[in-house]
Amino acid sequence: MSTAITPTHDHAYQGAHDARDHHDDHGPGNWTRIFTTTNHKDIGSMYLWFSLFMFFVGGSMALLIRAELFQPGLQFVQPEVFNSLTTVHALIMIFGAVMPAFTGFANWLIPMQIGAADMAFPRMNNWSFWLMIPAAILLFASFFVPGGAAASGWTLYPPLSIQGGIGLDMTILAIHILGASSIMGSINIITTLLNMRAPGMTLMKMPMFCWTWLITAYLMIAVMPVLAGAITMLLTDRHFGTSFFNAAGGGDPTMFMHIFWFFGHPEVYILILPAFGIVSQIIPTFARKPLFGYASMVYATASIAMLSFIVWGHHMFTVGMPAAGQLFFMYATMLIAVPTGVKIFNWIATMWRGSLSFETPMLFCIGFLCMFTLGGFSGLVLAIVPVDITLHNTYYVVAHFHYVLFPGAIWGLMAGVYFWLPKFTGRMYNETLGKWHFWLSAISFNITFFPQHFLGLAGMPRRIPDYALQFAEWNMVSSIGAFILGFSQLLFVWNVVSCIRSGEKAKAKQWEGADSLEWTHLPSPVPYHTFEIAPVIK
């Protein structure tokens, strides 16, 4: 990106106020503010804390799963509880941790990066956050109702999902509410990005984070209603005598899979595209050189989003679809490698002939590049129909999507937190601790998930609480890695909390190479209200 930014006044921070100027005219300064606030920074922070909490809840479930899988035999949980754990772990990580965390960043950053005072619909913004709380409560509570939490895998395939107890209905309701929250958030983001840019901030001058979110928000609006439709049909099949997915009544269980994955595949890009945006801002900053091929990055992101609508069948190669269907979905899926490759090459070309330094955010981005690419390659392996058939529903698939989601989505988020924390709080995190967090995560992540490729190739199915003896060794290795990985994340919480409480004062432009508006036009910490008068961008 080569945005030239010229403040309209000599005063570099025009449009910004000191936080104290406005402290009292925003309702009560006490705890009720968390319910009434319409400020994008407050809501952004609430989203981020919520997702951090959910990350640890989902992570604890993962550790229970890994504890059970440490050895063959049943040691800690009953098989149906194990199934509930894998199901709810996925739902919490997707809908409770990763998506809200991205929305949190969107809330904080989008108005600041485009020179707007707030989001377009501040009250709806408050509502989209608060909807998530009852949804989360429903998900937790479902563990304690008769029959337990949903245990059908997060894909909720009928007829298995027809069998569950009331926990499954609570899950359906929770997903409905979370979907409504996501749709509102997306409408807010699109409206903000299209209508509230500062004079001179053309679309092609927006920072990549804004671009990736614009595209992600459209994906969400397109697919969340599809998911809502699928789970509503599930609900009526369960309770109101319909037979959408019941062959005995003229329905088809396969239809659920088609509808679910028409949502599900764009969903996985919803989980990764904003991380692409974060990485696309951090790498140029620490390479001290503009992002390579800004325009092609925008087009590549848009092509990935569009292709995501025509590849859903690759999740279903084993349902017995005709050869023509398998070939179409295989070719379409392989095509995604092209724009994804372009992005990887662009990031590396950004580093090429730069002037690199390796602070924590940059380390996480480099980790992201290597590990996400590995996940991309295993994705390519899985796109090949015959190979997929031998690996479908095995641990290879588990390894694949954890490689794209943990170092992809989660490390993208971690990098973003370390990168913007000085801006959000006005204080610096502890660099040494940050590096420890990175290296411990990077090593233990690979100890956890690399052996799962071997387990999958050897034929170990996913979502089983117990396994044959030939899988014992790698499972033990994987479980050891998982515990190190899980506990390393506590360093992150410690670092964030001690940064907020007692970090060193950060500079307005903490990173030498940063060039988006929040770094060039606003002090650290950013005041409660920013850009009430829009800056002019040339």
């Binding site: 269980p253 580093m351 090949i384 190979v387 529903n393 095995t394 190739l457 050897a458 014992a472 060794e473």
Partner: protein
């Protein structure tokens, strides 16, 4: 810890052997491929057993090597940048190097060409896999919660195939396994599917309740069984042997406990097996849990309490124990207790109806597939075990009467 050290020792021994034989890298590679050399540390697709799984194996290796090569090339550029263009070395950034249409076109086209090179052999294999024409034998595979049924319709028999690993090897949370885990732990079944070597075997896969996956990696087959629909796949085993697999699609509580065993026999042995099976499984199929003496169904059989309980406990162990538990106490909230249950202690007919029809909307499926005497025995067992002392005996005729109704 020993399990961790053993493979390491094996590697060292193998390496030493290689030097002795002066066979160099090639032998080292072979050593890695020899089964057992790495003990439990398998890290590739198991030895292919059919022409299709051979192709799959080859495709996977091909794509793996291409990806590995790309990874090495692309990331050596990145690591070169990391070491060469460091601020700490005083490097100044070349801020003008941020666009090049030519480079962008090149790195769009090259991956595209590589993808075509991958797609061509993959397409060929897909077409081979989908060609289910001209089968030599056809077997219908029906999945149910939680086991398999194989029907050899042309030969007029069929049988159920269930996990044969005892729960005493598996254990329960809080109660460790009382028996050592066997070699084929969780991969062993009572009645294996049997096919002839070198013949095209066509499977018609379906399901009785929820979606399951019939997955035997070495045969190159992984096919969902979908209730209400029949899907077909095929395989042709190269050699005589035993192939193991598992259900691949989550199907409820005991998803992890429904293994598959396929035994490939020579044509003569296969013919012999067919003849034996016609006797064993013909007419009315029985579960293997019954002793051989009980395998002939006798409608006029009159059980004594002791007889019925003796047969019943075996049927209970094969079909009921996973949910209702050895103690008959079930799992509160998920699976109701039989011990002290009003239904079990109540009238005979009500309980027979539950077993024949299941309880729609719960995990209690219909057990109508069991024979009249099997059902009579298991119901009698539940009525006279744990806290239940009804003294009632259910006779096969009672079941038969309600089955017809």
């Amino acid at each position: 810890m020993q399990t961790m050290i053993r493979p390491a020792l094996n590697i060292l021994t193998n390496c030493a052997l290689c030097r002795l034989k002066a066979a160099g890298v090639f032998a080292a590679m072979c050593a890695c491929m020899v089964p057992n050399a790495w003990a439990g540390y398998d890290f590739n697709i198991p030895q292919p057993g059919t022409p299709i799984s051979q192709q799959i194996y080859g495709l996977h290796m091909y794509i793996l090597f291409v990806c590995a090569a790309i990874f090495v090339i692309v990331f050596s550029l990145m690591f070169y940048s990391i070491f060469k263009f460091r601020k700490s070395k005083g490097v100044k950034p070349d801020v003008n190097f941020h666009e090049s249409t030519l480079i962008e076109i090149i790195w769009t086209i090259i991956p595209f060409i590589i993808l075509i090179a991958m797609a061509i052999p993959a397409t060929k294999t897909v077409l081979d896999m989908k060609d289910t024409s001209n089968p030599d034998i056809t077997v219908k595979v029906t999945a149910y919660q939680w086991g398999w049924r194989y029907d050899y319709s042309a030969e007029d028999f069929g049988f159920y195939s269930n996990l044969s690993t005892p729960w005493s090897q598996i254990g329960q949370p809080g109660t460790p396994a009382t028996e050592e885990k066997g070699k084929d732990y969780l991969l062993e079944v009572d009645n294996a599917m049997v096919v002839p070597v070198g013949k095209r075997v066509r499977l018609l896969v379906t399901s009785n309740d929820v979606i399951h996956g019939w997955y035997v990696p070495q045969l190159g087959v992984n096919q969902y069984g979908i209730p209400g629909f029949i899907k077909d796949v095929w395989f042709k085993a190269n050699e005589v042997g035993t192939f193991k697999g598992q259900c691949s699609q989550i199907c409820g509580k005991l998803h992890g406990y429904m293994p598959i065993t396929v035994i490939v026999k020579s044509e003569a042995d296969y013919a012999k097996w067919i003849e034996e099976s016609k006797v064993k499984f013909g007419a009315k199929p029985l579960t293997a849990s019954l002793p051989a003496s009980a395998s002939v169904e006798d409608a006029n059989k009159k059980f004594t309490l002791a007889e019925a309980k003796e047969v019943g406990i075996k049927i209970y162990a094969a079909n009921c124990i996973a949910c209702h538990q050895t103690t008959g106490k079930g799992m509160p909230g998920a699976f109701p207790a039989l011990s002290g249950s009003k239904v079990v202690q109540g009238p005979i007919d009500a309980q027979i109806n539950v077993l024949l029809n299941g309880r729609p909307g719960t995990a209690m499926v219909s057990f109508a597939r069991l024979s009249d005497s099997e059902l009579a025995a298991v119901i009698t067992y539940t009525k006279n075990s744990w806290d239940n002392n009804t003294g009632k005996i259910v006779q096969p005729a009672d079941v038969k009467a309600l089955r017809k109704a």
